[in-house]
Symmetry: C2
Subunit: 504 residues, 2 copies
């Protein structure tokens, strides 16, 4: 391979990616393995890595090579070519990184690591006050970051969200979410007021967590998650950490009863994991080899969790597997009962336990409150009250405490501002993608019922995973589904499933 | 704190230590968590970290600060002061690092990571040939490294061993090991030919590995290993990874039967761990805050494993704990039988399963073969034959295959040349230290019998752990025991215990 400027640029970028992957290993370790005594030292390690990454990502040599490449028309002539994609994304990262002072990067990294622990303790003790100064510091750092990143006239929140969903705008999200809410609210009202709810007893049936773990592991394996290139562990907040397509780590959690929760979170994270494992091998370490956005990432987790895992066909396949691992005492439940129980709709406090219909309302609450904090319209001290008020308004529920209120999510403690809306974007994209997959694979339902997920996985590999970051989320959606982001498929999916279950 | 050259130097050194600790996390992860698909990428990560560490460890700014400090007589006037210790060790590391070309450091890091995996596969398949080219490469790299490091007239092996046991010399070890062998061989002969061996049945009694794990965890806790600052996991080859006194990780392994093995390896690693957790908090990240040598480290693991864990008093304490976790079926064994079975002597092939009497002979075999490879007197291709021959000569056993022969240990695949003798040095120091502890704590035996290890742990903390690297191993030994390294206490310990057990 000739030692061109482009090759040299990619080599530098691969080095930066390596360092980022090291940071990801330390992050994963912190969330799954690190003893309490190691927390402060770990924060120092992460701070050092963040500084090193920032230093490398803003190095003058990188800028020079990038400019040299951008002067070569051949590299850019086709905007979806390998080279044009890589140069676009390298330019974007470089410009964003150079706008951030090194001290801010270091302080953010250290604060993220420490605040995460304070949050966990505050949540356990229902003690918002002990977390408040950390969240205030984080919001301040985030506003500083946004000010550095925002282009003239850009909404500051948008500049933060660009880390997760390049090009997304709060104003567009407002419109999309308002339309979605306008359709969800009557459906929810009908379900709550006029529906006949399915039996809950399957939800309450306990099973040993070790047995649950063997069961959900078998499901993830059936889906096509490759355990020779990944792991499944336990953590408080389930997540997927992909440092490399050969090392993709899922976590899940288990309750003594409520076995559907462990299943859902495992299928969810395995959906993320299958995306990571399916990214193009030839482009490891370059932007092209990475996921295009978190909204698209979330579409993959939601598609498996909801469109597959909460379908009638899936429970035909899953029931025998459940009986095998959790024991014959579950024989009293038919596949039909398992299916309808897995689709119970209950307006409640906890996002990660929410059903498909209310889930997006939880996201809308967070989006609005976060936007208000970044805009300086909401003080951190007023967050618990504003949270309670929003839950009354959107979900009609009375939040009993902060543990089940504004302390429930890890995100803000990690500095993930601009992140929450990608969950709902993911739900919207997932429904669109799944309709396209159904059109392309007419016997998909039968395949799912027999536990054969290979065709679906290959369709997702070919249409979504293998393109890496070649297309922006919005473009990818149009290319795969023929339409921009559209709430209609999601609403068709929800209406079509929930009305029969609730006999409406 | 004034921003003196010394403070600035320590800050740089702390940064290098942080990076080293990151590398240690990735190493631990590779040995306990990494899926096979991530191995090659992990090698790249470790190579990058090794290059970064080397770059920082040889930076001209470091050399300048170091020289500035060395010009300040006040910092060096007391050779055992904090500053003199740190400056001595920083100088030593700097000089050694600058003698190694960056390319060699990177190649070594990558080869270590990859060769370790090839070794594991070769060992599983008893296939020395597949590992041979990697070991040849490693020996070549080690000889290159030794040539870079050796001072004029220095034995090259000594230059490698200096990484683990500063100041140790092959010639001294030869003498010490010859004396030891001269006393071990007649004892072994007597045991094998004239002794009445204790019953083996306790060794063969199976127990579920989960129950074994709960049991050995309880023992480690009793010893004083602090689980809020550490972990215990499983790996093929037990080890202790200490990245920081607040994050010390032990691994052990379990057999279905042979429960004494899991106990021994856990107590061994917990002994290492208690040393790491006891290093001086005020000096984290500087040389003074680190262990002084691997021989001293090993003395701590051996002291707990052999002098405590294989004592009659210990089994008085341990039997009820064993019954609690492994079940009433173990009631058929008295504490006396457990004690004598834990001290069975059997010349055999596997070092890590060896008894106290034969263990040092395993080490002597490795020391001699390794020295011959580094000196160029033994070709890697001839290693399996030379290994068999040495086992015939020293242990009188016929090695059945390479898996139980020269492929049994991970060390050479990781580039740990100059390391093995520290095991026997550790045994020698352990016996000396334990005699001193017994003199200082006259009722130690009663304390051990009642599971009270606090006084012993505090004695070790105060006399050994808290001095960090202030004293070289040989000096520390003299300070604590009043004598240089001496095989007499080890032989007294072995003779005094094994002759009664074998009714000699």
């Amino acid at each position: 391979m000739p030692d061109t400027a482009y090759q040299r640029l990619l080599n530098r970028v691969r080095g930066n990616h390596l360092l980022g992957a090291t940071r990801a290993v330390l992050d994963w370790d912190q969330q799954t393995m690190l003893p309490p005594g190691g927390v402060e030292f770990r924060a120092r390690q992460l701070k050092q890595l963040a500084e090193l990454s920032h230093q490398r990502g803003t190095a003058p040599e990188l800028a020079e090579l990038l400019s040299l490449c951008e002067d070569q028309a051949a590299l850019l002539v086709d905007p979806t070519s390998d080279s044009a994609t890589n140069l676009r994304e390298i330019r974007r990262s470089y410009d964003r990184a150079t706008r951030l002072p090194r001290e801010l990067v270091a302080e953010l990294a250290e604060t993220q690591s420490l605040a995460q622990n304070t949050w966990a303790e505050a949540r356990n003790r229902d003690d918002f006050e002990s977390f408040r100064p950390w969240l205030e510091k984080m919001v301040k750092l985030m506003r500083d970051k946004a000010q550095c990143l925002a282009e003239p006239g850009q909404e500051e929140w948008d500049a933060l969200a660009d880390d997760f969903e390049p090009g997304v705008q709060a104003s567009d999200l407002h419109r999309l979410f308002r339309d979605l809410q306008a359709e969800l609210t009557p459906l929810l009202g009908d379900i709550t007021n006029n529906g006949s709810p399915p039996a809950r007893r399957f939800h309450q049936h306990p099973a040993p967590t070790d047995a649950q773990e063997r069961w959900v592991r078998a499901v993830a394996e059936s889906m096509g998650f490759d355990f020779s290139r990944g792991r499944l562990d336990r953590s408080t907040h389930p997540f997927c950490s992909g440092t490399h397509r050969g090392d993709v780590r899922l976590t899940t959690r288990f309750h003594d009863a409520f076995v559907v929760d462990a299943l859902g979170s495992t299928m969810h994270e395995a959906g993320h994991g299958i995306y990571e494992q399916g990214l193009p091998a030839a482009h490891v370490g370059t932007p092209l080899g990475q996921a295009t956005s978190l909204g698209i990432h979330e579409s993959q987790s939601r598609l498996w969790e909801n469109h597959v895992g909460r379908s009638e066909a899936f429970w035909t396949f899953c029931r025998p597997l459940l009986l095998k691992h959790l024991g014959a005492e579950f024989e009293v439940y038919s596949a039909a009962e398992m299916y309808s129980t897995a689709n119970l709709v209950t307006p409640d406090f906890i996002r990660v336990e929410a059903d498909e219909a209310t889930y997006n309302l939880h996201v809308i609450v967070r989006f609005e409150l976060e936007l208000a904090m970044i805009r300086g319209e909401l003080e951190v001290a007023d967050l618990p009250g504003a949270w309670r008020e929003a839950y009354r308004r959107y979900l009609g529920v009375e939040v009993p405490d902060d543990t089940r209120g504004c302390l429930q999510d890890v995100h803000w403690s990690c500095g993930l501002f601009g992140y929450f809306p990608t969950y709902t974007l993911g739900n919207i994209y997932a429904a669109q993608f799944f309709e396209s997959a159904q059109a392309a694979l007419p016997d998909l339902d039968d395949q799912v019922a027999s536990g054969n997920f290979a065709a679906l996985k290959h369709w997702l590999n070919a249409h979504i995973h293998e393109s890496g970051s070649r297309f922006r989320a919005a473009d990818l959606c149009e290319r795969v589904t023929g339409r921009p982001a559209d709430i209609a498929p999601l609403m068709r999916h929800l209406e079509g499933k929930l009305r029969p279950i609730y006999q409406l």
